[in-house]
Amino acid sequence: QSFKLLGFLDVKNVPCARDSVLYGSLGSLVMGLGHFLATSRVKRSCDVAVGGFICTMLGYWFYCRFDLAQQKIRQRMLKEGMKNRVLFEGSYLDPEKKQTGSERGDS
């Protein structure tokens, strides 16, 4: 199942989308309300709220996607490392064997 915001953004299935929209809404509320409490200007506060929504949503989106990309790279490295460990364990290419060999050489 999917829930599409404005009919095109699937916030349920796209990673980071739901959090971005929610944080954007929170940021919009905080900034708009804060501006109104400080200045008592309604229309300008609405402008600040919409601006805050866009900036907070996009800001969190970039941060979350960057984090996700780094996580994917770490996952790939881990997967490769596990595969290599299984392949090379006990052989001359085993990095752990080389380490213990060098320790014996030092002593």
């Binding site: 915001l5 404005l6 953004l9 929209v21 929504f53 949503m57």
Partner: protein, 227 residues
């Protein structure tokens, strides 16, 4: 393959397709931000009286120059990254020729000895139970998993297009021209596609089926097929 009434992408089966789907999500998020702004401006203008007393619009002109430029940068940078990634020179493990005809595909594995076959759609009347209508073929394209496959696409008569959505591949088949694309599929599976350039009466009836199998299975298949 796509389900009936499917609107979104099929699941990605290659790294390039995963990147494309992530870029698509990013582009939609930027589109959401722009749509929100436009909707708000519309609502704002509808609530104002119609009057224009602007003589100096320096600030607004600065805003509506800088903002679109930033939007373009936000979209262009990831897009160019993927574009260059798709064009990377990688040493392919297998080269395959796909030749479009009216209305079937011919596949040539010239790396292997004289392996050439035609791939016709399985007619609905001959379809076994559980198979997909208008998508199954008599001879599938067999490729090994975790291996870069280069596909050289051309056509024999009119324009065709060799497309497999889940692999992120679509390449025009043009008579007298060789177009090249490549893909890598990390896991075994069967991937469906259809001809994507209008080519006559049976344009919708010349599907493409790529079957990715482990390397050992691929070697068995190629040795059996060659003999």
């Amino acid at each position: 393959m796509a389900n009936h009434s499917q609107f979104g992408f099929q699941d990605a089966s290659s790294p390039i397709m995963e990147e494309l789907m992530q870029f698509h999500d990013h582009a939609l998020m930027v589109a959401l931000a722009i749509c929100s702004l436009v909707l708000y401006l519309l609502a704002h203008m509808l609530s104002e009286k119609l009057s224009s007393s602007t003589v100096n619009a320096q600030e607004i002109e600065l805003v509506w120059t800088i903002l679109p430029a930033m939007v373009l940068v936000m979209l262009a940078l990831p897009s160019l990254r993927i574009l260059y990634m798709m064009d990377e020179i990688n040493e392919p493990d297998l080269t395959l020729k796909a030749i479009g005809h009216q209305w079937y595909w011919t596949y040539e594995y010239t790396d292997l000895k004289d392996l050439t076959f035609d791939s016709y759609m399985t007619p609905t009347a001959d379809l076994p139970l559980g198979h997909f209508r208008l998508l199954e073929v008599d001879h599938r394209v067999i490729v090994p998993t975790n291996s870069t496959v280069r596909v050289i696409v051309t056509a024999d008569d009119v324009l065709h297009s060799w497309a497999v959505p889940s692999l992120g591949v679509k390449t025009d088949a043009i008579p007298g021209r060789l177009n090249q694309t490549s893909f890598l599929t990390p896991r075994p599976g069967i991937y469906y596609g259809q001809c994507s350039e209008i080519c006559g009466a049976n344009h919708s009836f010349m599907p493409i089926v790529v079957e990715a199998v482990p390397l050992a299975n691929f070697e068995n298949w190629s040795s059996l097929s060659s003999s």
